[in-house]
Symmetry: C2
Subunit: 324 residues, 2 copies
Amino acid sequence: MRQAGRSLPEYRELRADVPMLAACRQPDLVCEITLQPVRRHGVDAAILFSDIVVPVAAAGIDLDIAPGVGPVVAEPIRDTAGVERLHRLTPADVSFVDEAIRLLVRELGATPLVGFAGAPFTLASYLVEGGPSRTHARTKALMYGAPAVWHALCARLAEITLEFLRVQVSAGASAVQLFDSWAGALSEADYRRYVLPHSAHVLSGLAGTGVPRIHFGVGTAELLRAMGEAGADVVGVDWRTPLDVAARRVGHGRAVQGNLDPATVFAPWPVIEAEVRRVLAEGRAAPGHVFNLGHGVLPQTAPEVLTRIVARVHAATAGPGGQP
Amino acid sequence: MRQAGRSLPEYRELRADVPMLAACRQPDLVCEITLQPVRRHGVDAAILFSDIVVPVAAAGIDLDIAPGVGPVVAEPIRDTAGVERLHRLTPADVSFVDEAIRLLVRELGATPLVGFAGAPFTLASYLVEGGPSRTHARTKALMYGAPAVWHALCARLAEITLEFLRVQVSAGASAVQLFDSWAGALSEADYRRYVLPHSAHVLSGLAGTGVPRIHFGVGTAELLRAMGEAGADVVGVDWRTPLDVAARRVGHGRAVQGNLDPATVFAPWPVIEAEVRRVLAEGRAAPGHVFNLGHGVLPQTAPEVLTRIVARVHAATAGPGGQP
């Protein structure tokens, strides 16, 4: 469960005096924060504590993560000169992630670690807008108005992302998640024209590593087919699309991940339990199903409820008749 | 085009010293603001200048519209006592809307006026959360945890909305739009269980008036079928779902409205024109098509571009071979 830390008092305590980017660059802290939800909830995999802008910052972009706002970019990128400011990423630029993952793999033992990176479109949106945007107006303006600049920017971001994930796999990550938070802002036609080739470059670049590649976005009802085609082994699905419907869309042989509505945790237990059972049942339509929320954990979530959900999923899938 | 005013200097000038709710309650101002985009762009219909919280405020809820934030409710509604604070709406409570529409109909002549109201779910979300919310966590918590309170709240909101739209039709509105901004936050199952009956109550309550009923939400790829079933004659579609796909989903005999991406206006003209042609072509799959943006006009839109888009649509649909 992504962002599970936000709901944990032990996470808030660790982060009290450490800004987000600083935390992402401190291997012992990354290790501890990544382990916290595993210890608490007994989930079957850990997901690397990081932020999607970490590799972009390591590639020379002056940015900060403002609490309550998100990434803020000092000088937005809107032309060729801006694209040039993004240098190639070398493993040395992100040695802290290599170190964190080596620590983690030792600590986790048999529990797999899922690596993590933002996808080119979402990274580009932050860089073009200068921060979070609801409309992505400047991003789309660049896409439509200067497609050569747009593709140059995304090609460079794809290289950076690919290198960042290669470092994670080399250090021991057992799977990777390519996270395209904002892809759902696009029509399928725009996604295919302006985004898919770049995400596909990242995902196909990892094909030789043999690790499963998870690709996730929010509000992607119309994009699931294309996101599968981008080269994912597992397509993450938000709660808006039932998993049996999603399984048909993502294409033969691909697994699905999801998709309990994160707000379900505020319901009484019988409602939660019924929803967990529904998600598990719908997930059986796919050749594989990674049970998860349909989006990140909401900060006001009671950790005890997450622990109970994990136990319920384990009970349903471990026994006879359950899904392995 | 909804919220066309936001991009007009003449609108900004009129609103400079008048808060949003005050503007909505001043018939001469409502009339003038509603007419501005018609004069500027030569569109085929006017849409009433209002805000979705206007009838809720008229029904006794203490709220304000904070610039840059949205509606802020002094005392959120989360229990039966809260629901009781919403009184029934009488025509006298919204006489300013009756008056504004009578003025407008005189001024508009042959140009039809589209009435406007927020749908029960979106109104309920503002009332339960106390303001805008990205996650609707408290709203869903009430839905799942206290369904009786939830349904009582939405039933009351449906009555208020129905009365508000009846006043608009009596005063001369030629069509109505029921606007469910946030419906896209729900799965189809939740929409059908918690929302559809209440929206259907509003829409079916207007069946006898003979005016076309438009129903619109954002991010509704998975909900279009259900929103058609709620009793719409026209289903508004955002830019994520192509209109030919939407036409199949909304069900036989229903028209579609939309769906140019509002960010397209920032593209060079040839790109805009190609998109306008695509939207018109895809719209031919439905028995009727109201050309529109797929969401509200973005404030930074150049008005000249909107005027040119309207002219382009007129040129494409007026001549031989065009769509009437």
